[in-house]
Symmetry: C3
Subunit: 218 residues, 3 copies
Amino acid sequence: MPGPETLICHPNVVLGKGSLVDPFVILGRPPRGAQSGELTLSIGVNAVIRSHTVIYAGTTIGDNFQVGHNALIREFTVIGNDCSVGSGSIIEFKVAIGNGVRLHSNVFVPEYCRLEDGCWIGPNAVLTNAKFPAARRTKETLQGVTVGKKAIVGANSTILPGVVIGPGGLVGAGAVVTRDVEAAAVVVGSPARQVARVGDLRYDDVDALVYPDAARPE
Amino acid sequence: MPGPETLICHPNVVLGKGSLVDPFVILGRPPRGAQSGELTLSIGVNAVIRSHTVIYAGTTIGDNFQVGHNALIREFTVIGNDCSVGSGSIIEFKVAIGNGVRLHSNVFVPEYCRLEDGCWIGPNAVLTNAKFPAARRTKETLQGVTVGKKAIVGANSTILPGVVIGPGGLVGAGAVVTRDVEAAAVVVGSPARQVARVGDLRYDDVDALVYPDAARPE
Amino acid sequence: MPGPETLICHPNVVLGKGSLVDPFVILGRPPRGAQSGELTLSIGVNAVIRSHTVIYAGTTIGDNFQVGHNALIREFTVIGNDCSVGSGSIIEFKVAIGNGVRLHSNVFVPEYCRLEDGCWIGPNAVLTNAKFPAARRTKETLQGVTVGKKAIVGANSTILPGVVIGPGGLVGAGAVVTRDVEAAAVVVGSPARQVARVGDLRYDDVDALVYPDAARPE
């Protein structure tokens, strides 16, 4: 059963009361250029941190945090209260995440992205920040994605650098989003186009509206 | 070399004869609300379980199971004989998987999906189950994907909730499948459209037929 | 803190001077059919190998190698100098990677792919090699993807088997590439189509050119 070698907890990690940590987790890993314990990792009360997950020093996370297995959260990222990050997801450094945000599994979020309160990111969705990767001016031209309040980003979608998804917007599964999405707009396809307003959706016909070609005979 | 701390095996795990388990694996992790050892994890003979993989209690897996590294299999899932699950793949709870099923790497399979005998799921493919994620009625409207016998789901494709892929169907790489796929039909694109029947494919022109625009001059 | 049980290093691993290895790493894992220590894993000087990563025996890696967390590199793969492989990425066996190549996070590279000097692969990009997966003749018809010198493969793109991306080519994020890409061509969409030449791109309008519909009013 889990012994002392199965959790790596660097100095200067503050973990709130009632938190649970699985084996093979690393907390407070120093980023490049920092020493172990030089930066603080602060996590609020009642966190659940599942196995094989790594959270870097220099990051601050609120209360009631849930994280799956094999996830990675880098340095200088801020995460609010009541958030969850799914298994295999990667959050890079300098990401700003509000309260009540849920990232599903295998999501990728690069630096400078902003995820506002209550938004939801589906499995294997990929946000980006480099308009011209691997170029001389890549670093100075990075622009993160903004996902507005209560917006929903569908499974395996791809969001181009600098795109702003308005509050309550809905990005269909598999979409490739190259332009900003209006508040409460529904966009689908590659490249994504607006096909409806969220307010028009009813539960019974959601697939017909969200995915117009998905209407089935039955 | 691997010592006693490198495998976490909870009580009530039944692992068949001839099985091999790599280091940093967790077997029988209790799901939320259960105690360690309360539920059984049963795995048949001759399993190979590679490093950093986690399999929850409450799941049953048949003989000759192969699983890669960093994979996750949750509770109350049933997997038949002669199946393989690739590295980084995630299978959620209450998934039903037949015999001879192969999931490649980084695949995501949410709850209520059904993968029938002999089907094949390519790398980074994403199945879904929530027509309207993060809504009040999300849980009661969940519908898993069904992948029929010997169907093939291409790499990095996205399958919408409730879609049924008929037996022997073939989903092209990168497709976004919003409608049911007929038995032995070939679908490609975003949204996916039927472009051929599997019976029409010959090995020599498979890319021309499966991916009609892929025909090259040579 | 990390103890002796947290690194699994098989016999016959050569790790250059100045290298750093995080906990929960496995180096020199024998591939199927080989014994521990039978094959050599050789890694050059100044490597940084982050936690939960697995590198198989039989592989050779040059100097100044950087690899993220939870990555997997299989046997009989050759990687040049000054390369980096991101967290969660999977490189299968018999892959040939030149110098100065950068793979971002959650990338999938199957056997027989060839990544030439200075190319860049974005997060969650998927290369493939099986024109007709799970068929009798799958193994004899495998064809890897070739990514030319300094080519850029965008985030979450999918590259079909046997495709050659010419030197300096640019594949847009989310593209599904079914045909060869000319040298220095820019391709986007599903299926991907050429929309520009890299030489035409200026930093200020790169999103308008690379992603033609992304032009915004500001």
